[in-house]
Subunit: 252 residues, 2 copies
């Protein structure tokens, strides 16, 4: 009496589909699923992460995932949350002593982390609306720390908010653009030819000089940083000057 015969319908005939055995209870959990989702997305891309492919990667029935995440959206939310947290931790704090230099370094690190990890990029940039409106405690605490330092340096709260928001958006916007470019390049799409070069003398000339029209150049990121940081420095000077004037007027 062969006990192997218990299984449902895999009879004597050559089973072309190897018929994965049923997993025992507790053999998967939410964290395993997230791990698998990240590793699979890293292998291919976030776009090609589907519930069936994830299930196959995990060697689980597709529907099993639904016991841990009620929909794909919830799964992606959980992935975003994890990605956002690890990303935040990797970004340095601001020092009050040299706020401008360290704010620059802060932004550069943000940029580097995005560029290094396409999945992070897709999750954070394509899915989250804003930098600060996260329900993630770690992200908020980092944000809080930066703002507090800037205010401590002497910025008015509103200015600190504007500065940080602009910087973050510049970084994210650029990362998004570069991510798209990479994707296009992978897909084999090349720069479209200009239809009528005769009408575009300036652009044609610039391209001959080696400029990649419409594409992100290496120093574009730093250019934006310059704009924001220099403006911030000027704002700080004004604010401090105003404070001094106010104090002196009170003396009299």
């Amino acid at each position: 009496m062969p006990t192997e015969g218990i299984s449902v319908a895999s009879d004597s005939v050559a089973t072309d589909t190897p018929k994965r055995p049923r997993r025992r209870r507790g053999s998967i959990n939410a964290d395993d699923i997230l791990d698998a989702a990240f590793s699979l997305a890293a292998e291919t891309s976030l776009d090609s992460l589907t519930m069936p492919s994830l299930a196959a990667h995990l060697k689980v029935g597709v529907t099993s995932i639904y016991w841990y995440f009620r929909s794909k959206e919830y799964l992606l939310d959980a992935m975003t949350d994890r990605a956002l947290e690890r990303y935040s931790i990797g970004i340095p704090f601001i020092s009050a002593a040299s706020w401008d230099r360290s704010l620059r370094e802060h932004a550069r690190t943000m940029r580097r982390l995005f560029r290094e990890d396409p999945v992070l990029c897709d999750l954070v940039i394509m899915r989250t609306t804003t930098y600060g409106a996260s329900s993630n405690q770690v992200v908020m605490e980092r944000f809080e720390a930066v703002l507090t330092t800037l205010i401590e340096v002497g910025f008015r709260p509103k200015d600190a908010l504007d500065i940080y928001f602009s910087l973050a958006m510049h970084t994210r916007g650029l990362a998004m653009l570069e991510r798209r470019q990479d994707m296009d390049r992978e897909a084999g799409i090349q720069t479209p030819e200009m239809v009528d070069r005769d009408k575009l003398p300036t652009l044609t000339k610039l391209m001959k000089q080696g400029h990649t029209i419409g594409f992100v150049e290496e120093d574009t990121f730093e250019y934006g940083l310059d704009c924001f940081i220099e403006h911030a420095q000027k704002t700080l000077q004004k604010t401090q000057q105003a404070a001094i004037t106010r104090r002196e007027r009170r003396k009299k």
Copy 2:
């Protein structure tokens, strides 16, 4: 001999599906399809524009669309092209006399057009990589005109590129964020509560003062414009000063 009986299988029984009659040849064309696609997307959203829904809107068989656009991607490309062209035309040129003021107005119009038209926003921001790398002649000519004017004003070509690129990205990045916020709001998602307010004293205080942490405020856009335009003004001064110095040195 009833000639009506020719049709395939719509017999005597109450046809619950009204069985749209076959369209005659030449009754649709690429432009009609694009019109319908835009009107349908405007009614709902670009995301919910599917080939079946578009066909129904046009009262055509789904596969008929494929005679004019070989895939949905090609259809979206055509839509993007049209949207981009109309959008470009709506944006004012730069005047050399008051380049800073008109560059500001230029960016403000870009922003307004995006905000007014969610479909344009989704097509242009979510689908195109960069501002200048378009194969669209009109878009390129506008870009050319702005650059030419800035160079005429006295900017070095590279500076003109950086300025315009930064400005465009700021505008697009903000438009994207605001678009997402609107979508979230429509979907009934509210600002997530901060998990542990005790650890976020600065943020809590700012929120009490009416700041919407992490969300775009009305003047954020103008703040970025200030940064970029002021930086540009300074750059121009330096460039012109350098040119004067060079000329005077040559005199001696």
